[in-house]
Every structure is written in structure tokens, then in C-alpha cells.
């Protein structure tokens, strides 16, 4: 299987280079990139699937670098990730066949090259089994995706890209520290040496916490999530589908690999599991609450990635807790939940991003306020987006529900035999998950309803047209995948549970009897397939009855909406901001966290700025910008919550200003008068001579 994947890597590199070379001939370059990418994706998909059912294959060449050789490991977990990324890549390339037509002048060759390289580097990160090469491909992945984020060079995308690269690099540095802490203990950079070495508890905890926050920054966990809604929407839609569906999963993959694989020998701590669960719960709630305040379709979906990463972390957290507390069945169900939701999220988030891309392609704008009524013009996109929304809101028969069901069973099962403190933690997690579920329903009603339903609120929405065939095909494939993963849970769950078993080196947990999914510890069953059949039957019966009645009495259609006697007009339609405003009345405190953090950041930077400001050049207070007259539409929008970019992450802006203030303060040391420079040298000499006396 590994050879297949390596072949696909070669394939995508060749396709990338070829598309870069022929970037002048736009159409040719695009087709080469897309077809080559799809071929490579197909190959690695087969390779990944194959690896699920095989034992781990390990290959090691005396690599170019003298100090460590180039080792790759394909175990079931890696196979799962590669398969997910390959599926998304295939669909993204298929989508790109017509979506990239808009990108001809911004350099289709560059996109083709970097996107192929991006997918190849993701696969290589998953396969790498050596600290140095893992770090190289991890950073390469951030670099290539950075280029894709800033591809259309608007001011917003450049700023988002900048923030993204810095956060990715901070995460990278933490992971590097964690790996090198382990390397210094084992004396080699090979993961194989890490696995066999039983680390001292101190080093193990240090390595885990560093790796957790390092990979968490990549996955967009709460403390490090501010870059995600700035960076993902800026990339082309199929790239942001690939990033939200695939790349942030590498963060989760990293956490699982470090915890279960590298630190496996000495066993984990219960504290690790609690940390992951708490961060997961907080991420899921904050992610969905901030998503509700969004007006831009893609940044709304980006915030939802933060939420779903939180849910995956809940599952993984239960897995780590179970593994550390010595309850293998709990660890198995926790990991099963985490990995299953990882796959599901990749599918429905990819679908939703492609849907948002189609809306952008058709109307030219992502702002929900001016859209509306696209369902009639774009039926296929509307249906796919609806199924995606149902899946992400975890509505029963679909895949979102199945993985959240397993997460619930894991959490409640863990609470059944946890001690006092643990029960409170799990209760907190269950409540957080429930609130997230309810808010997700609200958010996606808003997203789907305001964008696709009611009447078009602008001429852009009116002249919307259905997207060309390849984009429709891509969305349909993902929709079918969502439905299949939901209804076919009885066949998919055992495979995922065997992967979990292979990670924990225990027998796979039996989770399926016939068509129903069984959770042994919480003595409960659910069967998406049967439920889907029952729902279909009952709903069909009701619909038939209602239509029969309509047949008799007839159905008229009245062009105007009933507005309690008044003449209905467009301004009456609900806007995303009204939903946001409603939520803010109840979820006020959670929003207060974000604005509080931002205000604190600004206050800190002003304080430091004044402290470092040279007395003479006190910058005059910037004159308040005169408020541009707000149109009625805009006013409505500001009534609720200002869209994300208005209160861009002020915290990161204040950090930037603090850094430049420090630079300015240091700069004053270079006053230009070279005589003072000589005094500096003498001063240094005196300092070090004094040091000698101190030392002796």
C-alpha cells in the first residue's frame, strides 16, 4: 500500500511542476493540475483504504541528511487520515476543474503547483516516522497553504495569511521543542526509539503538553483559534475545504500520535485526558457562539471548524482518559468517537465549503445579508448544502449524529465509573456538547435559510445561476459520502474501532450487532439505517395524506407573503444579524470573553506604547474617523454583532504594536553618534571583566 501512496506523491509533484511550467496556457495548466491531482488522490485513497486492513508497514532509507535517515510508517491510523485527505483532494480537484476559471489571471500555475505540493506534504507529514522529517514536512505544509491563502493578494487575505503563518510557526516551534525533549532523552531522532523508550513522567508530561498546544495551534483549538476565521475564508473555496477538512485533522493526528504512539511505552496521565476534554468543550461552545455572529458564509464555516475540532477533542480526550485510567473499552469508544467525527467532519465541512464556493462563484459575494432565494436558481447546491447543514447539526440519520452519539456514549460511560471530580468534568463536557448541538442547529438554520430561502435581496442573488457540472459533481459526491457514512455506520464503525484498537494495542471493541450500533458500557443501541427507514415511511405517509387532501381542495399560490395585512417587501426578510442579535441577548457573557480579551490587549499595547514612547515625540491621539453615513442595510447589520473583520483579532494587532514599540525603544540606542558606540564597547568590556571577578 505504501508504494501506491508514494506513487501518488510522485504523481502530484509531477502534476504540480507541469502546471507551473505551462502556467501561461491557462486552460492547459489547469487541466494538468486538476487531472494530475485527481489521479494522485485516487491512488492515495486506495493506498490509504488498503492500509486500514493491513499491519503497519515500516520503510527506512539512509536519507540525504547524515544524522538521521528518511523513515516512513503506514499504520491504520495513518491510512485513515490519508484516505480522508485523498477523498477531499479528489473532490477539491474535481471542483477546481471549473472553479479555477476565475483564477486565471492570479496565476493558475502557481495554484496548481502549490496545491499539489500542499496535498503531498500533508501525506508525507502523516507518513513521516522521524522527528526531523516530520518537522520539515509540517512546516512545508504550513508554507504551501500560506501561499494558497494569500493567492488573491487582497489586503484582508494578506493580513489573514500573515497571522496564519505566524500562529502555524508558533505551533511548529512547540512541537519541535516537544520532539527534541524526547530526542534528548532517547538519544535519537527516530520515532521508533521514542516508542520503545519509557520516558520519565516529568519529560512525558512536558512533551505531551508542548505537543498538545503545538498541534492544537495547527488544529485551531480555542486558545489559538483566532487565525482560522481569518485565513481559511481567504483561500479559494476548494482549498479552504481541503484545509478545514484535511489540514486541521493533522493537528488531531499529531496529538493522537504523540500521546498513544510515542509516549505509549510509559502510559499516560489522567490529567492529560482532563486537559484535552476541557479545552475541547470550551472550543466547541466558543466556536459555535462566535460562528453565530458571522455574516460572511465562509468565516461562519471556519468558526464551525473550531467547534467540530472541539467535539473531536472531546472524543480523543475520553480516549486518553480511558487509556490512562486503565479502562481499555472506554479508551476504545472514546477514540472511535474522535476518529469517526474526524472523518465525518472532513466530509460535511468539505461539502459546506464547496457549497459556499458555489454561492461565491454564482453571486460573487459571500455576505449572507445580500443573498437569499438561491434555492430556486441553484437547486443542486441548495439540496447539498441542506444535507450538509443537517449533517453538521447532528440530525439523526446522517453521519454527524452517529459520531456525536458515540462521543456522548463515551462521555456518559466515563462518568459512570469516574470519581467525584471526573464526573463533574464529564458533566461539564456533556452540557457543552449539548449546547453546541443546539447552537449549531440555530447557526445552520441561519446559514441555509438566510442564504438559500426566501426571496433574493440583491440583483447579484437574482442573476445567480447553477454552477457548472464538475462543481455539482463534487458536491454530490460529498453529499453521498455524508449519507453513506451515516446510514452505513454499521459497516464503517467496526473498521474505525479496529483502528482505535490498533492504536491502543488492544482487541477491537465490538460495537455492532447486525445493523444496530451497540454501546456496551451504556447499555444502549441506535441504528441509523433502521431509523432512516422508519422516518422515511412515517414522513412519506404524512406527506401522502396531506397531498391527497390538497388534491381534493386544490393549492393556490399567492405571490405576496402574508405580512399581517401589510404589503410585504424585501426589507421585511430576516437577516443574519437578527439571529445574531437574539443569540447575543442570551449568550452575552460568552461574547464578553472575546471583546474583553481584545480590549485588554489594546490597553496593554497602549500602556506599553506610552511607556516606551520617547518624551519628545508623543504621538498625537489619532483623530476619530468621521463615521461614514450608514445605509439602512448596514445599520441593521451593526445592530446585531459587528461582522468578524470589524473587530479583527485586536489581540494580535496589539501584539504587533508592542513588538514595534520595543523595536523603537531599542532603536533609540543607535543615536547615530559613533563616540557613544565606543563607550558601549568599553562598557561591555568592563561588564565581562567584572564577570571574571565574580566567577573566580
Amino acid at each position: 500500500m505504501l508504494e501506491l501512496i508514494l506513487l501518488s506523491l510522485g504523481f502530484s509533484c509531477v502534476a504540480g511542476v507541469l502546471s507551473l511550467v505551462t502556467s501561461k496556457a491557462h486552460a492547459a495548466s489547469k487541466t494538468i493540475a486538476c487531472v494530475g491531482g485527481m489521479g494522485a488522490a485516487a491512488l492515495s485513497f486506495i493506498g490509504g483504504l488498503g492500509a486500514l486492513f493491513q499491519a503497519a508497514t515500516y520503510v527506512s532509507w539512509a536519507g540525504p541528511m547524515p544524522f538521521t535517515n528518511f523513515t516512513l510508517l503506514l499504520n491504520p491510523l495513518a491510512g485513515l487520515l490519508i484516505a480522508v485527505i485523498a477523498a477531499l483532494a479528489f473532490v477539491a480537484w474535481l471542483y477546481g476543474l471549473s472553479y479555477f476559471d476565475e483564477y486565471y489571471e492570479t496565476g493558475i500555475g502557481v495554484i496548481g503547483f502549490f496545491m499539489n505540493l500542499f496535498i503531498a506534504s500533508m501525506n508525507l507529514v502523516i507518513l513521516a516516522d522521524n522527528a526531523f522529517w516530520f518537522l520539515v514536512f509540517f512546516e512545508l505544509m504550513s508554507l504551501t497553504s500560506y501561499v494558497l491563502v494569500i493567492i488573491d493578494q487582497t489586503e484582508k487575505s494578506l493580513k489573514g495569511g500573515f497571522l496564519y503563518l505566524i500562529m502555524a510557526h508558533i505551533g511548529f516551534l512547540m512541537i519541535a521543542l516537544s520532539f527534541f525533549a524526547m530526542a534528548s532523552a532517547t538519544g535519537s531522532l527516530e520515532f521508533e526509539a521514542f516508542r520503545t523508550h519509557a520516558f520519565a513522567p516529568g519529560i512525558a508530561t512536558l512533551a505531551f503538553v508542548l505537543a498538545f498546544f503545538g498541534f492544537g495551534a495547527k488544529a485551531g483549538m480555542v486558545p489559538f483559534h483566532s487565525w482560522l476565521p481569518q485565513a481559511h475564508p481567504a483561500a479559494p473555496s476548494n482549498v479552504s475545504a481541503l484545509m478545514s477538512g484535511g489540514m486541521i485533522k493533522i493537528g488531531i493526528f499529531g496529538i493522537c500520535k504523540v500521546c498513544f504512539d510515542l509516549l505509549g511505552a510509559a502510559g499516560g496521565e489522567i490529567g492529560w485526558g482532563v486537559l484535552v476534554i476541557i479545552i475541547g468543550a470550551v472550543s466547541s461552545v466558543l466556536g459555535v457562539v462566535y460562528a453565530l455572529g458571522e455574516h460572511d458564509l465562509k468565516s461562519l464555516l471556519a468558526y464551525h471548524s473550531v467547534e467540530n475540532i472541539g467535539i473531536i477533542l472531546l472524543g480523543v480526550g475520553v480516549g486518553i482518559y480511558g487509556w490512562a485510567a486503565g479502562l481499555p473499552w472506554l479508551a476504545a469508544i472514546g477514540l472511535l468517537a474522535g476518529l469517526y467525527h474526524l472523518v465525518n467532519h472532513a466530509m460535511f465541512k468539505g461539502l459546506l465549503f464547496l457549497g459556499a464556493g458555489s454561492v461565491l462563484h454564482a453571486t460573487g459575494t459571500r455576505n449572507m445579508e445580500v443573498l437569499g432565494g438561491l434555492a430556486k436558481a441553484m437547486p443542486v447546491t441548495a439540496v447539498c448544502f441542506l444535507i450538509g447543514s443537517l449533517a453538521i447539526s447532528a440530525i439523526p440519520p446522517l453521519n454527524g449524529f452517529v459520531s456525536e452519539w458515540f462521543t456522548y456514549q463515551g462521555l456518559i460511560g466515563a462518568a459512570m465509573d469516574g470519581d467525584i471530580f471526573m464526573r463533574i468534568v464529564f458533566a461539564f463536557a456533556v452540557v457543552a456538547l449539548a449546547i453546541t448541538g443546539a447552537l449549531a442547529v440555530t447557526c445552520f438554520v441561519k446559514a441555509f435559510g438566510v442564504t438559500f430561502l426566501a426571496r433574493p435581496r440583491s440583483e447579484a442573488a437574482e442573476r445567480a445561476h447553477e454552477v457548472p457540472a464538475p462543481m455539482k459533481a463534487a458536491m454530490v459526491i460529498l453529499t453521498v459520502a455524508c449519507i453513506a457514512l451515516g446510514l452505513g455506520a454499521a459497516w464503517v464503525a467496526p473498521v474505525v474501532s479496529s483502528i482505535a484498537g490498533s492504536m491502543l494495542a488492544t482487541a477491537a471493541l465490538p460495537v455492532v450487532e447486525g445493523v444496530t450500533l451497540v454501546s456496551l458500557d451504556t447499555v444502549s443501541v441506535v441504528s441509523p439505517l433502521i431509523m432512516a427507514v422508519l422516518m422515511a415511511v412515517v414522513i412519506a405517509l404524512c406527506a401522502l395524506a396531506r397531498n391527497a387532501a390538497n388534491q381534493k381542495a386544490g393549492v393556490k399560490s399567492d405571490p405576496d407573503t402574508w405580512a399581517c395585512g401589510y404589503q410585504a417587501d424585501l426589507s421585511m426578510e430576516t437577516l443574519a444579524s437578527t439571529v445574531g442579535a437574539n443569540v447575543k441577548t442570551f449568550m452575552g457573557p460568552l461574547y464578553a470573553i472575546r471583546s474583553g480579551v481584545n480590549r485588554a490587549g489594546e490597553a496593554l499595547s497602549r500602556l506599553l506604547g506610552r511607556a516606551l514612547e520617547p518624551e519628545g515625540e508623543k504621538a498625537p491621539a489619532a483623530p476619530a474617523k468621521p463615521d461614514a453615513p450608514i445605509s439602512r442595510y448596514d445599520r441593521d447589520r451593526t445592530v446585531g454583532i459587528a461582522p468578524a473583520e470589524q473587530h479583527a483579532p485586536a489581540l494580535s494587532n496589539s501584539v504587533l504594536s508592542v513588538v514595534s514599540d520595543l523595536g523603537a525603544w531599542f532603536g533609540r540606542m543607535e543615536g547615530g553618534d559613533f563616540r557613544t558606540y565606543i563607550v558601549y564597547i568599553v562598557g561591555a568590556l568592563v561588564f565581562f571583566l567584572a564577570l571574571i571577578i565574580l566567577v573566580r
Binding site: M416, I420, L433, L439, K556, D560
Partner: protein, 308 residues
Amino acid sequence: MTIIIAILQAILLVAIAPLLSGITRKIRAKMHARTGTSIFQDYYDLAKLWKRCEVKEGGSSIVSRLAPPIFLGSFILLAAGLPLVMQACPVPILGDIITVLYLMALPRFMFALAAIDSAGSYTAIGGVRELLVGVLVEPSLILVLFVMAVAAGSTNVGVMALSVANLSAYPFVAVVVAGVACAMACYIEMGKLPFDLAEAEQEIQEGPLAAYSGPSLAMMKLGVSLKQLVVASLFVAIFVPFGAAATAAPLELLIGLAVYLGKVLVVFLIASVIENAVMRVRYKFLGRYTWFVVGIASLSLVFLVIGI
């Protein structure tokens, strides 16, 4: 065998739902010292609407057409799944609390979508408020069910009912407090007066019904009253399971049925008495009441954790 019981149970609940809402209207009228309509008034309304010609609004799409059947259908499914007549769930796969909770989310999803689809601001605000009530009630409901799951050792409603029935649910006080919290949460979910007047279409929260007419409106009204009944019987099934049939013997089933009907009647009686004794609370302050219910639910969690 249990499948038949499930189907019968579903049909029974659909049948008696309008009756119970008729009874509550009768009680309200009596408390207002007026004679009020007959308890079968709902049946007459539904029959009349069923024959009427339906008007489809201009902007609305397929979603508005699909909303009523999905709304009613999912509640019928919920009704079939609950252990009302028997102590064990007639259809085990519908019995898991997570499935129940997330299955209740589907009608809310379609209800709100239909509201937005009708392009009217009046109906849309009603739909959005319906969603937000769901958001506010969710934490207390899940906390209660979490406490019961840990107490009963399973997340299946049937097993919970069984353990409460034979008093084997371990931290007894936690279960009682959870029952109180569940009662209040279900009361809010049923859309009774202090929070919302379910029957009145003019009421904002039921605003979306304004967009419907004819058979669709009939189906939606039936769905709303069935929702009240299902929520009430969820509470009854878990916390007042006494008297439900232990085995599938026909005699036991009949007794179970009678006992269940009695219990539901008592619950509706209490609910309508409470309903008429209080004033309508402003939508903005709904949050305070729900946080209060969450407080009680977390109290039950504390008891569970301490283990009394």
C-alpha cells in the same frame, strides 16, 4: 411483537393529542369562569382545515412544503419510541436519550427553516425564537438525562424507567431533584403560558403557523399538540413509570394503558392550572427562568456526585 405495540402507541398518541389540548382549553375557560368550547373542538378545527384549499406563499420553496410532514412524522416516531405502556422501550433503537434529544432537533430545524422561507419578518422572528428556546432548554434537559443515565447505568429510556420503577436507581435524592428539574424543562418545552401560548397563532413563537393554511396548517397544529403530549409523556415515562406493564401480557398492557392515560391527564391538569395562574413573561427575561432550571439540574448533579 413490540413493533405492534409501538405502532398502536403512536396511533393512540396522535389520536388523543387534540383531545388533551381540547381539555386544557376547557380547563382554561372554566378558570376564566366561561363555558368555553367542547373538549373535541380541536378535532372539529382539524377536520375543517383538512378540507380547506391551501395557499402556497410566493417565495416559499420545497422546504415549506416538506416542513409539516417532517414535523409531524418525527414526533410520531418519538411517540413510538417511548416506554409509555410497557416499561421497556417498544422499539429499543428509538429509545436512547441522545436519539430522542437530537430527533427533537429535526422538527425544530424544519420549523425554523419554513419560518425563514416564508420571507415574512413576523414568521421568521417566531422561528428564530423557537430555536433559541430550544437552545436555552437543552442544557437543563441533557443534564437531567445525564444524571438519570449515570444513576440508572444506561442511556436507554426503557432501562431508566425500569430502574426508577423498581427503585433501584442508586442516588435516590438526585433522581427526585432531577425529576423536578425535568418537569420544569418539559413545561418550558411544551410551550405553556408563562413562556409561550402554543395554540394561539398570533403568538410570536408560533408565528410560522401564520404562513400555512389548509391541510398543512392542520398537520402543523396536530404536530404542535402531539409535541406537547410527547414531551409530557417523556417526563412521565422516566420519572413516573409506576403501573406500566412489566410483561407483554394483554391484560397487563390494558392496565398499563389505563394507568398511562390517567397519569397524562393528571399532568395536563396540573400544567393548565399552573398555566392560568401566571402572567406571560417577556421573551428577553426567558433566560433567567431557564438558568434557574439549569441551577436545579446541576443541584441534582451535585447530589449524584456526592452519592446521596
